[in-house]
């Protein structure tokens, strides 16, 4: 513990200061440091867990990379405002890493600035849809009876309805430019799948020996829910979350690409612009369309890969020792 000795030397040196005072000061110095230490320790453990699965770790790093790029990036790289007619569709160069678009604006800068709302929407939808799925699924499985039959039939019917066309139709009826609204609608539209898998899992858990044992030992409902059932559902919850994210990205970009939703500048809008401006038909302008396309593809991949790691973390039985 040598590192925690305060900078002003040992207790003997201070002399007149009482033992207790010094130790109090020492503690005040120690506590925030200890807290930071624990945080780093926790992060370290988390990283180690993530690293168990190679693809998962790669996905995780990529995902973090995207988060940093889209949140921190815009602080350094500004959205290009003015058009530069001399540099229309110029190929990648030292000045413009990914080339320029039809107005001469730097593509890389647009990518950096265009991801934030996609990420936000993904995370928001993921949270809401997981919440809905977990709540309804567990309630349905635990209460059972008529409520369960009703919800399950509803879910079956709901699953048959093709989601994207419905979303497209809704887009013409409701203003979907507000992110919270869009996230809510996406989450509601997608409730059925997660509901089903959570419900199945809770059902099987209910019958498991250790749950029955916990009930028999009268360990209390909160204990049963949080210590026995929830940890075993975590892998499903994690998967639901990632699935919520990927389908949100798919839906949002799809809608924007088709021009059905007016949104501020993001990757989907870039693809739409590239499309309508005919950028796909020329070799020079290929970067304009491929940059956002690649960004979206990589983002989806990173989430899917990351979910593998999450699955392994939460499901110890999957971990090959």
């Amino acid at each position: 513990m040598a590192g925690w000795i305060p900078a002003y030397g040992s207790v003997e040196e201070v002399g007149s200061v009482s033992q207790r005072q010094v130790s109090n000061n020492n503690e005040h110095r120690l506590r925030p440091l200890a807290w930071v230490g624990a945080l780093f320790g926790g992060i370290g453990r988390f990283l180690k867990l993530m690293a168990r699965n190679k693809t998962g770790f790669a996905g995780f790093l990529l995902f973090i990379g995207f988060i940093l790029l889209t949140t921190v990036g815009p602080l350094f790289i500004e959205e290009p405002k003015s058009a530069d007619i001399t540099a229309i569709y110029s190929p990648p160069s030292r000045e413009h890493i990914l080339g320029t678009d039809s107005q001469g604006k730097d593509i890389f800068a647009q990518i950096v600035n265009g991801g934030a709302d996609i990420m936000q929407l993904a995370l928001l939808t993921g949270v809401i849809s997981t919440f809905i799925g977990v709540t309804l699924g567990s309630i349905s499985a635990i209460i059972g009876g008529r409520l369960d039959t009703f919800l399950t039939t509803l879910a079956d019917v709901w699953l048959t309805i093709p989601r994207f066309p419905l979303l497209a139709v809704l887009a013409t009826l409701i203003k979907l430019s507000d992110m919270a609204m869009l996230a809510l609608i996406l989450a509601v539209l997608g409730w059925a799948g997660l509901y089903r898998s959570i419900r199945a899992q809770v059902f099987s858990l209910r019958e498991r020996d250790y749950v029955e044992a916990a009930v028999a030992l009268d360990l209390g409902l909160p204990h049963i829910i949080f210590k026995e059932i929830l940890p075993n559902m975590m892998s499903y919850i994690a998967i639901s979350f990632t699935f919520g994210m990927t389908s949100a990205i798919y839906a949002q970009v799809g809608l924007v690409f088709l021009g059905l939703v007016p949104l501020t500048r993001n990757w989907g809008v870039m693809i739409n612009l590239a499309w309508t401006q005919g950028a796909i038909f020329f070799r020079d302008s290929v970067y304009f369309i491929m940059a956002p396309v690649t960004a979206i593809a990589l983002l989806q991949l990173s989430i899917v890969w990351m979910s593998r790691s999450l699955e392994e973390i939460f499901n110890p039985r999957l971990r090959t020792g």
């Binding site: 693809t55 139709v169 409701i174 070799r283």
Partner: protein
């Protein structure tokens, strides 16, 4: 001895009508049919109320449009709207709903707003087959090739190339289908110029007579090639991985070991013992994926300008052509429901355990 004679489930006396009906009702196919009909009813009602009750009520919007753009008096605008939407705007809501349902059953889905004089039904009839063709063919190819590859991957999981194939499959399945479409278009068509995309626009070339001629069929396939390729690439990864894992777990089943102990030839074991059983869970997945692929047609068809129902829906959406929108959405859902039902039937044929929910000795 409890088991020395086999208990017979069929009743030896003549069954009563009540028990006969119960047996029919418990047959899983009947249940599926009932659910399918319920779903269709649910969706039609949903679209009806969506259109009528949404904040920016499309009917009112259209009436306003008529008033503003054509200077029509309110009553006349209302009448026109009513006929176009196949609605009776004076009647109370529940009667409108009934009329709507009756019209539906008779196949009257209203008239298109933007193409006056054309009924929604006729538009659907013209364009739906193209979508079904491309989506269906894509699904068939993707499923058969995917399942075959998946099985091979399971058998050869120690080969060096297997992890590579798995990686490719998993990457493909994570990329959205329209991204694949764009990539195909941009790279195959433009960058490398491998494919004459300009000629491939649309679903068929002008000047070629439709009919069961080889020329026509070749032309149709030519135009549908890229959309089909997109559907295949977007979904094949999932089939490969699912079949691989299903096959692996089937290979571990007791009856496979017993089949080997019985000296059965490997070929018979692979097809009838492993294959058929491994495929069963995938048929259920097929159910879920049909809806998704059909839903994606709106995006894929717009990328390749393929004249199917998806493209028509997009146009209708952009034009705020509500009757058409409603009709197409309905028909898309009905197609999904019907194909799900078909998949259920196929599953029932494949897995005898599901056939009667109440058999057994």
């Amino acid at each position: 001895m409890s088991d020395s004679t086999v208990t017979v489930t069929a009743v030896s006396r003549r069954p009563s009508l009540g028990s006969l009906l119960k047996r029919i009702a418990s047959h899983f196919l009947v249940q599926r049919l009932a659910k399918a009909l319920f779903t269709i009813w649910f969706v039609t009602s949903l679209t009806f109320f969506l259109i009528r009750l949404m904040p920016s009520n499309p009917v009112e919007v259209y009436i306003n449009e008529l008033i503003l753009n054509y200077g029509l008096p309110y009553a006349e605008a209302r009448d026109q709207a009513a006929s176009l939407f196949a609605l009776d705007l004076d009647a109370p809501l529940w009667k409108q709903y009934l009329d709507y349902m009756v019209n539906l059953v008779h196949g009257n889905l209203g008239t298109s707003l933007r193409s006056p004089g054309t009924t929604v039904t006729s538009i659907i009839v013209t364009f739906l087959p193209w979508t079904i063709f491309s989506v269906g063919l894509g699904l068939v190819i993707s499923f058969t090739v995917g399942v075959a590859l998946g099985m091979i991957m399971a058998y050869k999981r120690d080969a060096f190339w297997e992890p590579i194939l798995s990686g490719v499959a998993s990457t493909l399945s994570a990329i959205p289908n329209y991204i694949i479409g764009i990539v195909l278009l941009v790279y195959l068509g433009v960058y490398w110029g491998l494919v004459p995309i300009h000629q491939m626009r649309g679903s068929r070339s002008p000047g070629i007579e439709p009919g069961f001629t080889l020329v026509f069929i070749k032309d149709v396939l030519f135009h549908a090639a890229l959309p089909i390729a997109t559907y295949v690439l977007a979904t094949i990864g999932g089939w490969m991985l699912s079949m691989k894992s299903s096959t692996l777990s089937t290979l571990g089943e007791d009856y496979v070991t017993v089949a080997r102990a019985r000296g059965l030839p490997e070929r018979r074991i692979t097809t009838a013992y492993v294959g058929r059983n491994a495929m069963l869970p995938l048929v259920t997945q097929l159910l879920i994926s049909i809806g998704f692929i059909v839903g994606g047609s709106i995006l894929i068809e717009s990328i390749f300008v393929y004249q199917g129902i998806g493209l028509r829906l997009l146009e209708a959406l952009n034009n705020r052509d509500y009757p058409l929108m409603q009709g197409i959405f309905l028909i898309i859902t009905i197609s999904v429901v019907v194909s799900n039902l078909l998949a259920d039937f196929v599953y029932g044929w494949l897995d005898p355990r599901v056939r009667v929910s109440g058999g057994g000795g």
